[in-house]
Amino acid sequence: MSNRPTRRLFAASACLTLAACASGQSILQAGNDATTSTKPVAPSTTAGAPGPPTTICLVQPCATTTTTAGAGPTGLSAAPGVTMVMAGNPDFAACPVDALEAIDEPVRITFWHAMQSAQGDALTDLTNLYNASQDRVVVELQNQNGYEELIDKYFLASSDDRPHVVQMPEYMLQQIADANTVITTSACVQAGGYDISPFLPRAMFAYQTGGVQWGMPLNISTPVLYYNKAMFEEAGLDPERPPITLDELRDYSQQIVDSGAATYGIAVDSGVNSGGAWFLEQWFARAGLPYADNDNGRTARATQVLFDTPEAVEMLTFAQQLEADGLALYVGEDPRGIDGLLAMADQEQPAAMTIASSGALGGVLDFVEGGAIEGITPAEIGVGPMPGPSETPSATIGGAALYITRDLGDAEAAGAWDYLQYLVTAEAQSFWAAESGYAPVRADATEIEPLVSIYADDPRFRVPYDQVNFDADDFTAVGPVLGPMRQVRQATAQMMAAIYEGEDVQPSLTAAADQANLLIIDYDNRN
């Protein structure tokens, strides 16, 4: 057999396979037969107006009027106008809160977390304090180096290798609920008669879906606006008054650029964990618009996203114009989430503002302190709420919550619940927020040391707290919960990247919505 014809045949078939037989379909549809639905059900209500939002309540069916409920031992009102009634769900694992009474030797529990540097140290300190303060439970911390590694390992682990307590980021809520590997916080609260009234409503609701409180929030971060006060002054702006609405953002940027105080008003990115997701999710929450159906996926699993609306087109066009007019610098997909901040540090073409996570504040101040960036001192870094399409500077919760793994022993579960209660006491939260830069999950933590001094001495640190210390009138205030949340954010991030690069807003928005729906349907088919 001669060589040449074989080679040609080989090459030809390879080319043909690649080039010609494209299906035009997404990889997500692979393996689906013709009967599997791939299109979302057409919404029964007009898009953008899904009907009156459901008042948040945690026991179904929900009352339509907001009253202080008396049902159950933990009936309470967390904030004016909001009903919060906890109820256990008989289908889920029970929480054996009394199991610690019966033990004769200390129970050891493991806690997988992803807290690094100062935050890791703070968690270690708190845990050591807890271990020393009682002799029934010993907690062992295991740092998994990052949320993604932690998630992978947790779901790969066989049931007896899982940790007793695990920290999971907010976007994992639906997957945790579907995996059903945890004892719900609802169950523990109900069983132990625990009082959850001191907690911030937004913090608690963020980890609630399907009528169940799944996890206990531990660390709260939000997107905040970092700005250069010196540049503000130079531009004739009040350095203590950052922009709150989108119009103000534009005006400020215009003034900054015109005055020459900086080359750009604001640096924006399209990162999956930053600008690519925040601009849509946070602005929708600010405007009270639903991101997904079924009350943002909170009362039942979402079946489609609802962000393909004229309001969204308006918001995104605003962002696009800001960049097109030279008022904003687009720094790209920013995988590490720091490029916006670095653009503020740029010596030649700096930006005066950027939006980044509140968790970065401590690191930023440390970095700037020794003069690492010429011309900026720590005092000149300003922090304000993220600008958005409303006067109320609120934000949805970012960060992570703690979950108790089920089926690892009653004493261990009780020990885990005991530890969780400790971590969210006012004293612990005050220490935690002061050391880590996260916002505390309860209001009374801000009134005791060490946090009260920190907030008084440097009000910049209380910005994330102020952003989440608002009522949650309905579920649009706490953001969407979706199974494939990460991948949906990837779709919106691609959309933001396209928009910043000048492509038309409506087609990009629709493409992102289509991709998101595809992801949701695929997730629902499999889980």
């Binding site: 295991q142 180096n145 390992k153 540090a345 690191g363 700037v368 020794g370 690492a372």
Partner: protein, 283 residues
């Protein structure tokens, strides 16, 4: 066997200009190759707040970052873990590869060629494809968070078998036949004849294996959830989380992780080249 640095031969003497030109070119390329390493070293030696200033010039100097990387990041302990694992894997791979290579090169048995091709094909399987299932296997054996788990899956290497087989085939035929007739047996041949003669190739293989294992991240990260078992690459990953407030710390950690390798490499560089000479040419 050719020497690593050949003596100048008559046809190789070049003009003075040629010499200078060659030096200049070598120096330029060496600078380009070293550039990323150079900037890393410079950054690691600077105190934290001077990292972004003059990245090319080491205008400030401190060893504090190294000290910090060592103690705070527990790099000392992790280096120990890496060293144990890398050494065990290296010894294991060399031994199993030598035995298998001997069988492929010296012995005749049915299915030999097919089996050899199957061995080679394992080199093409992407590592990530095997990770999750291997983790399940290791979990079932109870080897999570253990040296066995870190070491055993990598004790065999198709690349090693390939290189050593080449080297064995390159040995003079009479030597092989003579030894077999003498009746030393297979293991005897391996110990007394193959190992001494193949030392350069074995050294090269050992070096490649040590390097590869030292630099591995995905597998050690996947099967350990207990910090005591972290290897140095995982420790480096922990440091990376501090990129914003202490990039020099990350750089220092990077260098600490790379120094043992660089040292080993410098020492065995000549061996490495000599070792690869023996097998890389013959088909």
């Amino acid at each position: 066997m050719p020497d690593a640095t050949p003596a100048r031969a008559p046809w190789e003497r070049s003009t003075r200009v040629g010499q200078i030109g060659r030096y200049a070119l070598l120096a330029l390329i060496a600078f380009i190759v070293l550039f990323p390493i150079y900037t890393t070293v410079v950054a690691a030696l600077k105190p934290g707040n001077r990292v972004l200033v003059n990245p090319l010039v080491p205008d400030s100097f401190t060893l504090d970052t190294f000290r910090e990387a060592w103690s705070e990041a527990r790099l000392g302990r992790y280096l120990g873990n890496s060293f144990i694992v890398a050494t065990a894997v290296t010894i294991g791979q060399v031994v199993t590869s030598l035995l298998a290579a001997y069988a492929f090169a010296m012995l005749r048995f049915p299915g030999r060629n097919v089996l050899f091709v199957a061995f080679l094909a394992t080199m093409l399987v992407p590592l990530e494809a095997t990770l999750v299932i291997n983790r399940q296997t290791v979990d079932a054996l109870g080897w999570l968070n253990s040296y066995q788990g870190l070491v055993v899956p990598f004790l065999a290497s198709a690349l090693g078998v390939f290189l050593l087989r080449q080297a064995l085939l390159a040995l003079p035929k009479d030597l092989r036949d003579a030894a077999l007739i003498d009746g030393v047996g297979h293991l005897g041949f391996i110990r007394h004849v193959a190992m001494p003669l193949l030392r350069p190739t074995l050294g090269a293989l050992a070096l490649f294996t040590f390097l590869g294992t030292w630099n591995a991240y995905l597998w050690p990260n996947l099967i350990t959830d207990n910090e005591d078992w972290n290897t140095v690459q995982i420790g480096l990953r922990q440091l990376k989380a501090q990129t914003l407030d202490a990039p020099n710390l990350v750089m220092a950690g990077t260098i600490i992780a790379a120094i043992p390798i660089a040292v080993v490499l410098l020492i065995f560089q000549r061996q490495l080249i000599r070792g690869l000479t023996a097998g890389a040419v013959k088909g």
